[in-house]
Point group: C2
Chain length 178, copies 2
């Protein structure tokens, strides 16, 4: 049940509508979670029933009304409790690694194309992360845990995407030499 807590952390950092949360999550939410909008609306309703979040309805002209959600005191307590409880290690489920293991069954040209595309996308993400890193390092509040922890979370993304980048190079080198 980590979606619940991912939403709570997101709201803890900044209030927002379901729509805004969904947008942040589609881009990977601080590089750590992915979720779609129906999932988020459903979970926000459950969290409201629990009293862990609450919302203010805001009418808008020329736009549909929106609900701005906030984490409650109870929600913050529940979140702290969750953070102090160890979580399971995330299972690896990457279909591309299955394909790699059976790469000898692939049409080499198509496979090389897919690898190259992946490297481009992966490197773009890495570049984006590094840009954020730079901004964070210049930020006032350096040394402040509320800046340092998200920074470390970002570092996980940077280090893993750097690893991917090197891996793609190894794969491309092999495929080009075939």
């Amino acid at each position: 049940m980590s979606l619940r807590h991912a939403i709570m952390v997101d709201l803890w950092r900044e209030d927002g509508t379901g729509y805004e949360i969904a947008k942040r999550f589609q881009e990977g939410f601080g590089f750590s979670w992915k979720a779609s909008h129906p999932q988020i609306y459903t979970e926000l309703k459950k969290l409201t029933d629990l009293g862990w979040v609450e919302f203010k309805k805001v009418e808008q002209e020329h736009k549909p009304a929106k609900k701005i959600y906030t984490l409650t005191e109870d929600g913050l307590e529940a979140l702290k409790e969750w953070i102090d409880t160890p979580v399971d290690i995330a299972p690896i489920r990457d279909a591309f690694l299955i394909k790699m293991a059976a790469g000898s069954l692939a049409t080499p040209k198509l496979f090389l194309e897919e690898v190259r595309e992946r490297k481009v996308i992966s490197d773009e993400k890495l570049k984006y992360f590094k840009k954020i890193e730079e901004v964070m390092q210049k930020e006032t509040g350096k040394g402040n845990p509320e800046v340092e922890f998200p920074f470390l979370s970002l570092r996980a993304g940077i280090l893993t995407f750097e690893a991917y980048s090197h891996w793609f190079d190894e794969v491309i080198e092999y495929l080009e030499g075939l």
Copy 2:
């Protein structure tokens, strides 16, 4: 629907019972997929109905009868087709990264403990991967695609777990200095 293809790749590499496939998958199946036994038995039934795998029933003394599954010709064709079709990039869903982003809400002692435990487990896995790597490098058939592709798949595991190892060091250094 990657579980299906993960099972097919597994059977393509070596015939086996549902029980054996489940065992390999619990350990991460070549570091790329995780699945539980009810899921595998269910999928094997579907694959049998499709004619993509078949089994021989083998009676055993002092042990329950077992079904040894094999990939069929049709199954191999379907697998090749899948491999030539690009797959989506795997979403990141790591609850621990959520916790990291909100680490300032944690009880430092408990958090540091969890990170240290994770580093130990992660480094053990890395050591295990590196042992396999060594064995593979000495293997006859070096240069053979059926050895090289699984090797590259393993390399993905090694590079990402090395990245994790460095990341844990960064995190531990910060937490110890708090």
